[in-house]
């Protein structure tokens, strides 16, 4: 993929500073929501789900586990794009 190196090229790429700002906002929101958990009494059908920060911890661990497992699966399952001989592009 050749990059457009003309004068407007800069406008096309996302500035690292902006990315950082988005990421720090996300960190802040995560922190804020966990703090909020101290003050909101959540009504849960299962007692374990009512424990402090349950959804936050479970969501984080679930996603990391999902990605790591999927990455491992790639070693087992990944073949050439035209493995079945029917690639249409």
């Amino acid at each position: 993929m050749s990059e457009d190196r003309n004068s407007s090229a800069h406008a096309w790429s996302v500035r690292p500073a902006l990315v950082n700002r988005i990421v720090y906002t996300l960190y802040a929101l995560c922190a804020l929501s966990v703090v909020l958990d101290l003050f909101v009494h959540r009504h849960e059908k299962f007692a374990f789900a009512g424990s402090f920060g349950f959804y936050a911890g479970y969501g984080f661990v679930a996603c990391v586990a999902l990605v790591l497992a999927a990455k491992g699966l790639r070693r087992l399952l990944m073949r050439d794009e035209n493995y079945y001989g029917e690639a249409d592009d």
């Binding site: 457009d4 996300l26 909101v40 936050a56 079945y84």
Partner: protein, 563 residues
């Protein structure tokens, strides 16, 4: 005859059959107007409505409208209208015509009150949808045949099950069936194929990404949700559906993470969303069945929206491989926004449609006390956000600049996406609109502080996991590849085994032939010896064994041809 044709579904089927004969402008009008008129007709029909007719010596029910049928028929007609708008620019005739017939057949199947009527429309959806895939060009020939083979076998199972059931009970009614008798199991398998149960699922990921940009939008709405409706009609409260559904929510998301074709990622996530609905049917309480119907309704909209946005990318760029895309938000800003709305809806963000429908099912699971299933569904919910909510928009529209500069999607595509997006937000902000359409009264408030906070925790920390994995370089890059799934068994393993077995048999037969021949030459003299030789050489095969051999060769040929 009139009993069969006086049916909103036939407005679509008739329009689809008429469409190829009309000039372009009229074809365009028909694509949008037929579903709209049919929806209006459906809306004004009293509930319950039951129309019966005599055919084949049985009293059949071509039309039965009640609460459950209404909500599925209505969303099918809305989806047909939106998809029609999305394909308005098509000059070809085959895809729009097939789409109308397909949507009409799906509505007719939902409105069917007996198993024979259901079977007829069940097979019509298979044929019409196969034509939609085929309309994308000759390169889809083999995938279309694979798809058709599997869809038609679902129909054959349904027919066999219906015959067994009718002979056993004397009733052809399409109502509660259960798994107490053989007929029930056969029909269950037929529904399971179309609902893409685990290991019966690969036709979906195989065929849907092979259709045209608009073809996939049409396909995503009907077949699988018709199967969900059929399961809800006949197998509500069947316990085995709960583990089946739970597995369905979880295992496709691993594939979705590593898949490169973004429309195939969406096909895997479609499979995962069906799992939530299957769990709801398995629980079978009023809350759970409301949840299944509500989730089918919202899911058809946001999944169509996501397929529309990826279809627009495919239409403009020519590929939806994550490895080749990136930075498209500048070229396609509206499509980007619509895609993000679809992503937020499927991820169940508060104020978006998925939030108000999925929680009905999760709540029903909670009332059952099924904590393990609940944990699997929460895991799958976090995973959905991860691969559909973040991965799809991120790799298509952001990530790095791929250097691709293209036009924004055509106006009719934008309009279709805009309307679908508006529906996703509308339902999310005013859930009463949706709850009012459900088959049972709803006593449920999705917007409690507790529910919003727990969902935001789940989503924010899933996003955090994605961010951390991206920034540390652990997240697997998008790679051009094929990932082996269960279809490998029938596309590679079985043909290879059969080929090896047949060549082994041939070798054994040759060996036996030779050694017997030698023995015969050595020990038998005269005309008897000649006879032994001629039998062994195959001159004296009976007609029966020839037919068997020809059949075997044909089956082998078919298998190796489709693999």
């Amino acid at each position: 005859m009139l009993a069969w044709l006086a049916n909103p579904a036939w407005l679509l089927i008739g329009a689809g059959l008429l469409l190829p004969l009309l000039p372009y402008r009229l074809r365009q009008g028909l694509l949008v107007l037929a579903p709209l008129l049919a929806a209006g007709w459906l809306w004004t029909m009293p509930q319950p409505t039951v129309v019966t007719a005599m055919a084949l010596g049985y009293e059949l029910t071509p039309l039965r409208l009640d609460g459950l049928a209404f909500v599925f028929a209505l969303i099918f007609l809305i989806a047909a209208m939106l998809a029609g708008l999305y394909m308005l620019h098509l000059r070809s005739r085959m895809e729009p015509a097939s789409a109308l017939v397909y949507a009409g057949a799906a509505v007719a199947a939902v409105l069917a009150g007996d198993l024979i009527t259901l079977f007829v429309y069940w097979e019509l959806t298979a044929l019409a949808s196969a034509l939609i895939i085929l309309a994308n060009g000759p390169q889809t020939y083999r995938v279309t045949l694979r798809y058709l083979l599997i869809q038609v076998s679902s129909g054959l199972l349904l027919m066999a099950g219906a015959i067994v059931h009718i002979r056993a009970t004397g009733s052809a009614a399409f109502n509660e069936l259960g798994l107490d008798a053989a007929g029930g199991w056969l029909i269950f398998a037929a529904f399971g194929i179309k609902a893409a149960f685990p290991l019966l699922h690969n036709w979906l990921q195989d065929a849907y990404p092979a259709a045209s940009p608009s073809g996939t939008v049409v396909l995503s709405a009907f077949t699988t949700k018709l199967a969900i409706y059929a399961l809800a009609r006949s197998y509500a409260g069947t316990d085995i559906l709960i583990p089946i559904g739970a597995v369905m929510t979880a295992f496709p998301i691993f594939y979705a993470v590593i898949e490169n074709d973004l429309r195939r990622v969406l096909a895997y996530s479609l499979n995962n969303q069906l799992g939530f609905m299957v769990v709801g049917v398995g629980i079978g309480s009023e809350l759970a069945l409301n949840g299944t119907a509500a989730h089918a309704f919202t899911h058809i909209l946001y999944k169509a929206l996501l397929f529309m946005s990826m279809g627009a990318v495919l239409y403009r760029v020519g590929t939806v491989n994550g490895s080749q895309l990136g930075g498209l938000y500048r070229s396609m800003p509206y499509t980007t926004v619509f895609c993000i709305i679809g992503a937020a809806s499927i991820s169940a963000f508060p104020l978006f449609s998925g939030f108000v429908s999925k929680s009905l099912i999760l709540s029903a699971v909670g009332y059952e006390g099924a904590w393990l299933v609940w944990l699997v569904l929460i895991f799958a919910s976090a995973g959905v956000f991860h691969h559909s909510g973040i991965k799809i928009p991120f790799f298509a529209f952001f990530a790095h600049d791929s250097g691709i500069r293209c036009q924004e999607a055509p106006g009719n595509m934008l309009l279709a996406m805009g309307l679908t997006a508006a529906a996703c937000i509308g339902i999310g902000c005013a859930p009463g609109l949706l709850y009012g359409l459900l088959p049972y009264p709803v006593d449920y408030a999705p917007y409690t502080g507790s529910h919003i906070l727990s969902q935001m925790h789940l989503l924010l920390f899933s996003a955090l996991a994605f961010t951390v994995l991206m920034r540390t370089g652990i997240y697997p890059p998008e790679l051009r590849s094929t990932n082996l799934d269960f279809d490998w068994v029938y596309r590679r393993w079985a043909p290879a085994v059969i080929e090896r077995g047949m060549s082994g048999l041939a070798a054994a037969r040759n060996g036996l032939h030779q050694s017997l021949n030698q023995a015969a030459r050595r020990h038998v003299q005269g005309p008897r010896g000649k006879r032994v030789e001629s039998i062994l050489a195959g001159h004296a095969w009976t007609t029966g064994s020839m037919v068997l051999a020809v059949t075997l060769v044909l089956v082998l040929y078919l298998l190796s041809y489709f693999s």
